[in-house]
Amino acid sequence: MWLFLLLALAFTRTDAQASPVGGTLGAVGSDTMAGLVLRWGEALKQRHPEVTIQFQAAGSANAPPALIAGTARLGPMSRQMTPDEKQAFTKRYGYPPRELKVARDALAVIVHRHNPLKTLSQRQVDAIFSTSRECGASAPITHWEALLDPTEWPFRHIVLHGRNTASGTHELFQQRALCGGEFRRDISEHPGNSPVVAAVGESPGAMGYVGYSHLNAQVKALSIFDDDGNTIAPSEEAIQTGAYPLSRYLYLYVNAPPGEPLPPAERDLLALIFSPEGQRIARAAGFVPLSETVRQQQARWQLLSR
C-alpha cells in the first residue's frame, strides 16, 4: 500500500506550471467572489472543455500569500492589495502582480424587509456598528428608538449581524463605514454572506452588512447619505459610477511576467471576463458590471499581451 502511495507521489505531475491547451487554473481568494469565479469557470468550460478552474474560496487575505507562494496564479480579491502585499510579491518575482478590475460590488447595510427605515448617514452607521465612533458620532446607537418612531416599529434592541474577521467584507466595512474604528463585540460574526441575509431577514429587530450580490427579497438595503447630503441608494447605476459610498471594485490579480505571453487557459479566461458575455455573467452572479469605458480599458491590456 505504501509502495502504491509512493508511486503516486513519484509520478504526480503538477499542472500549474506548464499548461498547454487545457490545464487547470488555480485560483485562491475572495469568498465574496466565489460565485462569480465559479460561473466564469463554468462558462469557460463550456467553450473550452479541457480547461478547468480550481478555486479555493478562503477569503481575500489568502490571495497574496497564495500568489507569492505560487499556490495559485490567479488571485481574486474583493479589495486592492496593500502596498506591503504588492512589495512582497515583487520581492519574490521581480515584477509586480498584474491588477485587473473585473466587476463592481458594494456593501449594503440591511434591515428586515418590513422595517420602515430608509436611510442612514455614515455617522449613524458608525454609531450603530462600532465602539470607537471614529466617523464622529457623539453617542452609540443601540436601540431602534434612536432611528425610528416606536409606534411605527415596535422593536427595541438593534441586533447586529456581520462577517467573520478573516473576510474582506469585514475589513472593507471597517475601513469605509467605521472609518477604521473598532467593531462592537456583540455582532454575530457569520462565516458567510448568505447567513447574514437569512438572519436579518428572519428577525425584525436585526440589522447587518453584507455584499451587494447577496441581497434578496428577505431584506431591505438602506440608502446612505453621502457627504453632500444626497441620499444614495445601492442601485446598479450608483454602484457602477461609485457614487454609492460603500462601493468597490473587485480585482483579479494575475502572476504575469511582463513581456511574456499568458498561458492560453489564462488568456481565454481573461478574454471571457472582459467580453460583454463575461460581464453579463457578473450581473447574473449578482454583481454590477464594469462601466463600458473601464471594461474596454481593462480588455486592452489583455489584448496587448496576446
Partner: protein, 457 residues
Amino acid sequence: MSRLWPWLCAASVALSLLMLAALLTLLLTRGLGHFWPATLESVTLDSGEIIAGEAVRETPLPHRDGEEQLYFTGNRDLDGNRWRWVAIDHIAERGAPRTLVRLERSPWGDFIGYLSAFESASERLEGDAAWHALTAALAHPTRERPSATLVLQSAAGEMLRQPLNEIYRAHRPNAMSWWEKTRYWSQGVWQFLSEGPRAANTGGGVWPAIFGTVLMVMVMSVIVMPFGVLAAIYLNEIAHQGRLTRLVRIGVRNLAGVPSIVYGVFGLGVFVYGIGSSLDAWFFSDSLPSPTFGTGGLLWASLTLALLTLPVVIVATEEGLARIPDAQREGAVALGATRLEMLTRVVLPMAAPAMLTAVILAVARAAGEVAPLMLVGVAKLAPQMPVDDEFPYLHVERKFMHLGYHLFDTAFHGEDMQTAIPLVYATALLLVVIVLVLNLTAIFLRHHLRHQRGQSC
C-alpha cells in the same frame, strides 16, 4: 409521587425516539420533496399586478396583524429578484393556469411564466406546438440540441428571448398527471445523484461530492486498518497484560473522545505544513513555488481521518479478539503452531467479522466528519476528480469535494440561503442515509457475530 417518577424516565425514551423520528422525517420529506414539481400559482394583487410563482411558506407579519406568503418567482434577469413576499390580504385572486411553465436554466436561474413561441432556424411555433417542440428538443442530449430561441412572457407581461442552449429542463407542473410528476421527480433525484454542481453550487447535483467522500474513506481505510489491527493484536495478544498496557488501552480509548477539530489542527500543522512542504522541497522542487503536497489534499485528509478513526478500529478489533476463547489459541499452540501461525490461521480468521465491523464503524465516523476536513484539503468545487485516466490515475495530492462540507458550503457560502436550503436538505438526507446504513450494517454484523459466538462456546 414516587409512582410517577418512572413516567418521566419513560417519557425520556419516548422523547428521544420522537426527536430522532422528527429529524429523519423532516429530512426525508424536505429532501425528497424538493424534486417534486410544485404547483405554480398565478397571483393577482390588489394593485392589479400579476405575479407567478411557487408558494413556499407563510409567516405572520411583524408589525401588524396578518400573514404574508413567500413566493419563488424566478426571473432574476427581469426584476433582479427570485423571491417575492406578498401580504395575504393584498391578494385579490389566485389561480393555477395549466400553461404556466417553469424552466431550469443558466446563468439566471429558473424562469416561471408562459411560453409564447419556439423559434428555430426554419420555423416559428406558438401555443401547444411550441411546448411540444421544446420538450422534443430537450429530450436530446445537450450537445445535439438544435439551436433555437424561446420567446417567453412573464406573468406581468414582459417579453424575453431565451436561447435554447441555456436550458436544462422544462415542465408545466399544473398540467402534469401524478405519473408524469413521479417520472419528473425520479429524473430529478437521479440528476442530483449523478451530475456535478452548477451555477456556483446553487444547482445541479452532488456526484463529485459523493465520489470524493467515498474515495476519501477508502484511502483512509487502507491506511487505518493495518495499523489499527496491528495495534489491537499487540495490545491483546503480545503485550504483557500489565499496568502499562492498561494505561495504553485507556489512552487509546480516550483518543476517541478528543474533538475532531484537534485532529484537523494536527493534520494541518504536521501533514500539510510539515511533511507536505518537505516532500515538495525534496521531490517536487521543479514545480515550486506551487505546492504539490504542501497544501491540503486527499492524502492528508485521509491520513488525518485515519488518525481520528484509529481508536475506533483498535477498540472494535480488540473487542473481537477478546471474544475469541483462549481454548482456540491453546489448541493451536498445543498442535505445534508458532504464534504467527496461530494468529494468521486461527485468531485472525475468527476475528474477521470484528475487523469488518471496525472498518465500517470507522468509515461511518469519517463520512460524517466535516470540521477536520475544513483544515486539511476539502474544496468548495474541485472540477478535477482525484481519479482520472492520467497516470498514475489516483491523484492523492488533489483537493476533493465532500458531502458534509458541501452541505456546509451550500448553506453558508452560497449566494442565497433561501434558494440553497432545499438542496441542503437533499444533501443532508443523502449524508444521513449513507452514515445510517453503514452504522446499521455494523450493528447487524456485531449482533450476528455475538450470536454466532454465543452458540459456539
